[in-house]
Symmetry: C2
Subunit: 479 residues, 2 copies
């Protein structure tokens, strides 16, 4: 099944990390630059991000959110206002100290996240219950000065969106936190074909300054977790620290309740590491910038049947709004097929003289590599239904694989045995004590993923200490 | 005509600068933050930018451009590669010197523009004539550490797009430079209702490192120029400095030719300062986030005629894709009218009981404040045509005012007299010598705007030195 041109891709089963870094380059998603730790997102990679942005932005607007743009810099004194928050972020911020030749009176950091900027603004514009809720979002780049970086997964610059909302009551704010978590989950399921476990982070793992952090935990092909988005409920910690108050209906001063939520280009990493294979990228049709690659085989001129069939097909694809690309370059068919495979176009259409004699063309599914001969007349309806089938099959395969790597360990011996032998997530009963969480980290190198939203009632004592358990919780290695 | 709520807006004829800064705040376009020199773009301001982005991005894609995302940081050594370029930008870049607690081995600046980053990337991906042209664009934020800032006009952070392209021949690159200039000009004319003079910058005023800089010079209400976009032809200076080469069809190495072009949120400033009046913002319908404000007058319930008429109107507006806002708050009609005026909604619809008795509603044009009573049945078609009329009238009024402030001076005495007495642009015959350009700057405080693309043949000797002229050129004060 492998073809010459793709042999240089390492097998994902041999070395998943190398496979990943080779795929992101070979599929023309990214390139590196002299700016270490940052990446260049190339047109094909950026087109995926544009699709993601468009779909999510529509969802945000439908649920009443408005886009804004905050400054990119945060003065040090502003970052310092909420104590837990600054402790969480200060070690990894980039500090601007000079403007031209002049040293700044106060250094400013490039935003690692914008809670402090939004709070300062909300303090000015929220005066009355009539001003609530405030439902703001921004699409921007943030900076976290990481030591070790990997394209899309951990980068010094991250393209993301960050929603920041303020509400009159804690109930409303919690509702918002969960609403956005569901929007993220549905988006990842329906568009990215990613099954995720949603749940709550432990106190140890939650966002710096948050009261509750909800997370979407995806599992990559190698069984390692990728935190693929978070939604935070802040209570009114920040609002108090920033002195934000509003007059309620009884004309009394109250402090509002806050949320924030974000997803990033990391989702592109999750797509690659969940669906990709040894031939390259495999993109879910609903997010693929190019859904169909048309590859004519053999020479043909303007008046040939090949030309006529391509023209008719293109017309139909346009009418249906299905994006396509025709590869009529002078490369060999084998080279073109390999390229279509590396790029992960969901369907490749081969148009060759032998098929045409029978009024047929060949559709090749990227996800299964299955070849399907179809009558030219019914090609467009078959393409349409096949795109749906591919989308669904990709999700189901990812779900099946993910489920096959979910384990339950009733005690610590069992947990250690699984952790040693099998990649994936291990669910245990937990007493809620950080000491047990730390022990697992130290002994087994596993971090808590989340207390799942569903199925979290304890079924026995804590797997670590044997005391009464308060919940079930997932552990796993992480990117 | 003035109403109570807007009295706090200074008249634009009394103090244009204060009028401007009061409008941007009162219309909820921006807010200030602790981060000096940066602004917060609020939802209403950002919605204008989103409209601009959508329209221009479509134009860029239609002409074959692809979006990418380069790093936000430039290592000092990379910025230093092209000499003129670094001299132009180094004095106003923001330097990042620390990541967390650690001092960086090499400091990096936040991009003031991205020629150097694109060149470094192009060097890696351009190998053959088959790789050309490369037509890349990015939407991003750039930073220039300005001393004096004004919202939208001169800010430390600028939201913009920057196109960077590479071509096999200088002819193709020049063609691209002019193509993008035309796209900008048409966009500003057709959507923003802004007349602009397009032309070439002098050597003194051109972009640092460019061979030719083309500019779009808009004139604000007060006669002062706003450079509202530029398109640069670089020749192959940068390509040579970065060692970019490709194999041509004859298998020989050649150096490609380069362009860059950009417009920014400054265009929002131009809209405000061209069309705004003493009551607030006046937005061209084609760029207005909300085209119609519906204001019911008097109390009404669900079963009233007012409700019925609003529902029918909303249905029609939705079908036509005309954005609207209903103000059914408990504020007084006068307050609502004033607010609709400050926000610059192109049409305000007043729905009152007296009009309804005659099956009429009242449309109020924001640009002229004219009140038009229309039969309910024909309201939607009238609204549609009125939006077109307003768009055209706004352009024509701006053009007329602009033209009334264009002057020609045949000699230096005349130029000095006009410069002293009248705001606007002064056209003169010019010998092409920077000494004359500098003299005008020193004597009169006017900078050269551009050598217009049309009508630039000299009609007499240089207005300053009396020597033979090589062209006509505009001078004017600038923002």
């Amino acid at each position: 099944m492998a073809v010459v041109q793709n042999k240089s891709i390492i097998s994902r089963n041999d070395n998943f990390a190398e496979w990943y870094t080779s795929i992101v380059k070979k599929a023309d998603l990214i390139d590196y630059s002299n700016m270490k730790g940052s990446m260049i997102i190339r047109p094909y990679g950026y087109a995926i991000w544009e699709n993601i942005q468009k779909i999510l932005d529509d969802e945000f607007k439908k649920t009443g959110h408005e886009n804004v743009q905050m400054p990119m810099f945060i003065p040090e004194s502003l970052l310092n206002i909420e104590k837990e928050h600054v402790e969480g972020f200060a070690p990894e911020v980039a500090w601007v100290t000079h403007g031209g030749d002049e040293e700044l009176e106060e250094r400013v950091c490039v935003r690692p996240t914008s809670e402090t900027l939004f709070c300062e603004h909300y303090k000015k514009i929220i005066k009355s219950y009539r001003d609530l809720p405030k439902l703001y979002n921004q699409w921007c780049t943030i900076v976290r000065w990481e030591k070790t970086t990997r394209p899309f997964l951990r980068s010094r610059e991250i393209l993301w969106q960050e929603g920041h909302t303020m509400h009159a009551t804690s109930e409303e704010a919690i509702e918002e936190t969960l609403r956005m978590l569901k929007i993220y989950k549905d988006f990842q399921r329906n568009y990215l074909a990613l099954p995720v476990i949603v749940g709550e982070k432990t106190d140890k793992e939650k966002f710096a300054g948050a009261e509750k952090t909800y997370t979407l935990e995806a599992m990559m092909y190698d069984g390692v977790a990728l935190q693929n988005g978070t939604s935070h409920y802040f209570g009114n910690h920040f609002a108090k620290a920033f002195g934000i108050q509003f007059l309620n209906k009884d004309n009394k001063l109250e402090t509002p309740y806050q949320t924030s939520w974000g997803v990033s280009t990391r989702m592109i990493g999750a797509i690659i590491m969940t669906h990709g294979d040894d031939l390259g990228l495999v993109l879910p049709p609903k997010i693929a910038p190019i859904k169909v690659a048309i590859i004519p085989i053999g020479k043909y001129d303007e008046n040939s049947k090949t030309s006529k069939v391509i023209n008719e097909l293109v017309q139909s694809l346009k009418e249906k709004g299905i994006t396509y690309k025709i590869d009529d370059s002078d490369k060999t068919p084998g080279y073109k097929f390999a390229e279509a495979e590396v790029k992960g176009y969901p369907i490749r259409i081969e148009i060759g003289p032998r098929d045409l004699e029978k009024d047929e063309i060949t559709l090749v599914r990227r996800d299964t590599l299955e070849k399907i001969k179809v009558d030219i007349k019914s090609a467009i309806s078959k393409i349409e239904s096949l795109l749906d089938t591919i989308q669904n099959d990709m999700y189901n395969r990812a779900l099946e694989r993910r489920n096959s790597m979910l384990y339950f360990a009733k005690d610590y011996d069992e947990m250690k045995k699984i952790a040693k032998e099998k990649p994936g997530f291990i669910k245990i009963n937990w007493c809620g004590d950080v000491a047990c969480e730390n022990k697992i980290k130290d002994d087994l190198g596993l971090k808590s993923r989340c207390i799942p939203k569903d199925d979290h009632e304890p079924t026995g004592p804590c797997a670590v200490c044997g005391k009464d358990a308060v919940c079930q919780i997932y552990f796993g290695k992480q990117y």
